[in-house]
Amino acid sequence: MSALTSNLYIAVQGRRNRGLAGIYLLVFLLVALYIFLSPGILSVAGFSKFTQNWFPLALVTLAQALLMLNGGISLAIGPMVSLGAVIAATTMGGALGVPGGIVAAAIAGLALGALMGLVVAYLRLPAIIVTLASSFIIGGIALIVLPRPGGIIPPWFSDLLAGNVPTAFLLLVLVLVAWKIFLMTPTGLGIYAAGDNPVGAYRSGVSVDRVKLMAFALSGLLTALAGLFVAAQTGSGDPVIGTPFTLNSIAGAVLGGVGFLGGKGTMRGAICGSLILSLMINVMFFMGFPPVAQYVAQGLIIVGAVAIPNLVARWRRA
């Protein structure tokens, strides 16, 4: 029996990996190019620095993928990153200290995420509009918390998260393990099920609305913590620092093969997608591209990443 289930497990995992072969290859090629351009990545400090640049993008991509797997989307990722950053920068220097700052950022992310989920799930407004409108509200809150760049993150905490030690990488592994465990719970599975087929999931006993709310809350938590990390990285807070993360989170998830209609895609794909994006930005930087050219390249790559598999599938069918 256990042999059967383990075989089934391997088969399922294998099928999930199959569509990702192209992505794995791309990751491999980009990593090789990166090592060629900047061999320093092979040292502990170099590896740490690279993973630190990748980490916030990986977290927000996970947050976005979580919603997309559930059939939703968030256009409020950027402002939420900013909010996490300014909350961390204003509380950690004060009486509450570092633990207080972490708790405050986490609560803000969870609560605002849950509120958006509440409006989407129970008041039945489309996620795209709710999060677009919320992006103004959350961005406004961030501006009120810290009207201009400032605040302070204790230097020891910055060194711990963004120094020459691979803390960020370990945290990422931890998050992925937690996701794996979460997927074994009924709620975790429900996120996939409700995204794939809401009516079917509902009839099978998944509380679709509650699962949706959970997805938004968790996504908010991850995003706010990404903001906290960004603040630790820069040593201070900035109320608009998160802006590019909205598009990049969607781009990472889409590059990783996560579909828009829910239920399609994997977290490992999303992680690879964010890694590709991060590598790409770094490689373009090394090759001397001006920052604006990255926008142009990014637009083309996103379209290519979605279009090429579509065209290949169509060509195979024909």
Binding site: P126, I128, I144, L247, V296, V306, A307
Partner: protein, 314 residues
Amino acid sequence: MNVLGKLMRNPPLLTLILVVAVLVIASLTLRGFGSYGHLRYIMELAAVIGIVAAGQTLVILMGGIDLSAGAIMTVTAIMLPLLSPAFDPTGLIGIVVILAIATLIGFLNGAGAAWLGVPPIIMTLAMATFLQGLLVIVAGGSAVSVTNAAVIWLGQGRLFGISASVILWAVVSVAVIVLIHRMPIGGRFLALGANPVAAQLSGVSVTRHTLIVFALSGFFAGVAGILILGMNRQGYVGIGEPYVLTSIAAVVLGGTSILGGRGTYAGTIPGAILLVTTTALITVVNASAGWRSIMFGTLILGLLLISGREARSR
């Protein structure tokens, strides 16, 4: 009760009543709000939103979304002064050229969606990113002033005391409503939005109509970009950005389903006016940038809760 029930099922009318109520209350309580000059100013701002939202309405009716409308407006506003030749005192050549470019960008959106199978939301978002980078490379990121006579007239001119932009909006409104409700192609848009498979099996070409609808959206975004340029007399990177949210909000406020297949531009018109009026109310309240942003988001959410909710799926 029966009347109320009927009203709740007619979102365009509901939005219209809401906008009249807000305007009347604001005019009675705030000095100067109801003056002809101020109302005309509100209508001018609403014309810009209304015209972008015309394209957005068509795209959403067909089940898509256009997140690049703001970027197309910015492209128009920045490129138009560069493309208006000095030998043409009327400025019409520049307008024709820039509208062709805007339409072409929209067409490319449609090509990505129809031929490459990229979902509209990704295609248009990627297009917006692409254009943003391209603009900074082309224009260098600095603001440009406009001297094009036709553009300035459209943005600031008047005919019998009515702003040229509002007249243009009225023309666009009639054209779009006729297109949606009185022409076969409008029916096909609605059919594709409601059930693409059924429409396709009935002989409606998805590819062709996707190309047309996105090209139209690009065209209308271009017209709106010309208007905003004429009003501001200056184009800069980011000028069109706020119009992505406002155009989508105007469509949904007007009772058009974001899922496609159901709705009308007749609802988008009061939706656009409602948005501008509430934004004007926020400006009256003396608040910091953060609070203004919060009020704007909350008001849009609140308005959407009244008239933009989807039907229960189960």
